[in-house]
């Protein structure tokens, strides 16, 4: 190989590399990053009738900057907005806890099932994920309204009194459009997101560790809490994030299964935009929403970075 061909080789490699990186990079900059900047801009813009004013206006030869933080001031001072953030976080947290409670034993027993059964069990968890999410949420409307299967079962067992006592429903026998139906719908939708990372973590666990624990005198219960649970911590964290983060911003489930009292921030943004046509306000809500999920996300990525460090 001569020097000239090898240098054109390298040049080709470099050019190919640039194109490979540049295409998705530019696409994301243009359609993901730029829109966020625009939202940030609009959130501090003033409305001028139906349109919003430009931030910079040239008046008498000088550039004037008009920034309006009143949306943010309003967002922090209006008790309704504050309650909405709190309740979004609260519903997301309850959903995450429920998913973990149902999902951990589920993933555990899946991972300990006969290995010939495991692909089928895994497939059965993923299959609902492939079928329309919208239709599955809609199905709960049927199950929870009057004479629905679940509604009949809950009322037949007298569980509605329990739910009423906890304030999860507002009157006996009415399960739809309550915090109960909202959390049930979110738990149902996001359960696979909890089960899958937990399963992959539990399935690769070395079972000899449990034997070792037993040899050292641990009861199965102690071994479970001292060996299995700590080893599946990465799965617990990943699953909880995969449930919590989308739940905070959820719109479709609160709209179909929630009621007037179940305040969710995604729905507030939607209403500000589509019902009130208040674009700057909707943009401010969007900015706050991003800030809300950035905190758990940062903790999560820090944890993951540490986990990969330790894995090395």
């Amino acid at each position: 190989m001569t020097a000239s061909t090898s240098s054109s080789w390298v040049r080709g490699l470099v050019r190919g590399r640039t194109a490979v990186i540049a295409l998705p990079f530019l696409f994301l900059l243009l359609f993901f990053a730029l829109p966020f900047l625009i939202v940030g801009k609009i959130s501090v813009s003033e409305m001028d009738g139906l349109a919003f004013k430009d931030l910079f206006t040239v008046v008498d030869g000088t550039v004037q900057l008009s920034v309006k933080f009143s949306n943010y001031v309003f967002l922090t001072q209006d008790p309704l907005y504050f309650k909405t953030y709190l309740s979004s976080l609260q519903y997301a947290a309850i959903t995450t806890a429920l998913c973990l409670f149902i999902g951990y034993p589920f993933a555990y027993f899946m991972a300990r099932a006969r290995s010939s059964m495991q692909p089928a069990l895994l497939m059965l968890v993923m299959l609902p994920f492939w079928t329309s999410f919208l239709l599955r949420v809609y199905a709960w409307r049927g199950l929870l309204t009057e004479d629905g299967w679940v509604s009949d079962a809950v009322i037949g067992l007298g569980l509605d009194h329990v739910l009423l006592a906890f304030g999860w429903i507002s009157s006996e026998g009415m399960l739809m459009h309550t915090p109960f139906s909202l959390v049930l719908g979110m738990t149902y939708t996001y359960l696979p997101f909890m089960v899958l990372p937990l399963y992959s973590q539990l399935a690769k666990m070395d079972l000899r560790l449990l034997e070792a624990a037993a040899d050292l005198g641990a009861t199965p219960w102690v071994a479970f809490w001292k060996v299995t649970v700590p080893l599946s911590k990465a799965g617990i964290v990943a699953g909880s994030m995969l449930v919590f983060i989308p739940c905070v911003g959820e719109y479709v489930i609160p709209e179909l299964l929630g009621g007037p009292e179940t305040l969710m921030i995604g729905r507030v943004l939607w209403d500000e935009f589509f019902a009130n046509n208040d674009w700057p306000m909707a943009s401010s809500v969007a900015v706050v929403m991003v800030l809300l999920i950035i905190v758990p996300l940062a903790i999560f990525s820090k944890y993951q970075a540490e986990a990969t460090e330790r894995g090395r």
Partner: protein, 278 residues
């Protein structure tokens, strides 16, 4: 730990979990055959909701639009997602890599209402400046592409980082150009993940409500938007019929695809074993 009690408890928990996952789907399918227009009151078997679907112009037009968007989304997402995954796995150092990696994964965690709103506000600003684009198929496609690309990148990335780099190095040593290495060595090895990513992004696009609602214009209503507006008003047997058809198609599709993928994987392993034999 394998006492009788735990075995039975495990079976019970798994059964209850699967019941929870499949109960709504079973109810949807069953009531799509209900003769009564009143939901939850069974009055005998009937196919009339399916017959009604065939003349439901609104829904059929929306379905056709959704299928078109889903097809283009899946194709575009796989291309962009593969490029993104390839950049992240193969090139460990380039300017803005952290930003790029963050942006690739961000659409997965960003609330859809935020992505939809921001994209729409940008498109409105662009439209004010340039007079296009009108909201419709193209703008919905753009939104879905953003989301689909992120999912495709995750799927392809997982496969790419599992690959043995020695195979590509061997091809280079044997004189293959970089693009030949990609087309002849890398691509065939990641083809299954490309199929999986294509199917995943196709179903994602076919199912999306929020992005479509923000990005659709007059006359470009997708199927989930029609279903959503009907579901909002209450229970509607035509929605059950649509659901039954989707569930059937998806179930068959996923089972067939995973069977084919598993078979291809076994074939690949057999080939490797044969090739390794002296």
């Amino acid at each position: 730990m394998k006492s009788r009690w735990t075995t039975w408890f495990g079976r019970g928990w798994l059964s209850a979990g699967y019941l929870f996952l499949y109960l709504p789907i079973a109810a949807l399918v069953l009531y799509s055959f209900n003769d009564s227009p009143i939901p939850n009151v069974w009055r005998g078997f009937s196919l009339k909701w399916y017959v009604a679907l065939a003349s439901d112009e609104e829904l059929l037009a929306a379905l056709w639009l959704s299928l078109k968007i889903a097809f283009f989304t899946a194709c575009g997402s796989v291309v962009l997602g593969t490029l993104a995954a390839f950049s992240l796995v193969k090139y460990k150092r380039f300017t803005g890599r952290t930003l790029f990696a963050g942006m690739t994964n961000a659409p997965l965690v960003m609330p859809e209402v935020v992505v939809g709103l921001s994209l729409l506000l940008m498109l409105v600003s662009v439209q004010r400046l340039l007079g296009f684009p009108e909201r419709g198929l193209m703008t919905i496609w753009l939104g879905h592409l953003l989301l689909g690309m992120a999912y495709a990148a995750v799927v392809v990335q997982a496969r790419l980082s599992d690959l043995n780099p020695q195979l590509e190095e061997a091809a280079m040593d044997l004189g293959a150009r970089p693009h030949q290495v990609f087309w002849l060595v890398t691509l065939p090895m990641i083809s299954q993940s490309l199929v999986a990513a294509w199917l995943l992004t196709f179903t994602l696009s076919l199912d999306d409500v929020v992005l479509s609602a923000f990005l659709s214009g007059p006359g470009s209503t997708t199927m989930p938007l029609v279903i959503f507006s009907r579901a909002r008003l209450g229970l509607n047997p035509s929605v059950n019929a649509v659901a039954t058809i989707t569930v059937t198609v998806v179930a068959i599709g996923v089972v067939v695809a995973s069977y084919l993928i598993a078979r291809a994987e076994r074939q690949r392993l057999r080939d490797i074993v044969t090739a390794a034999r002296p």
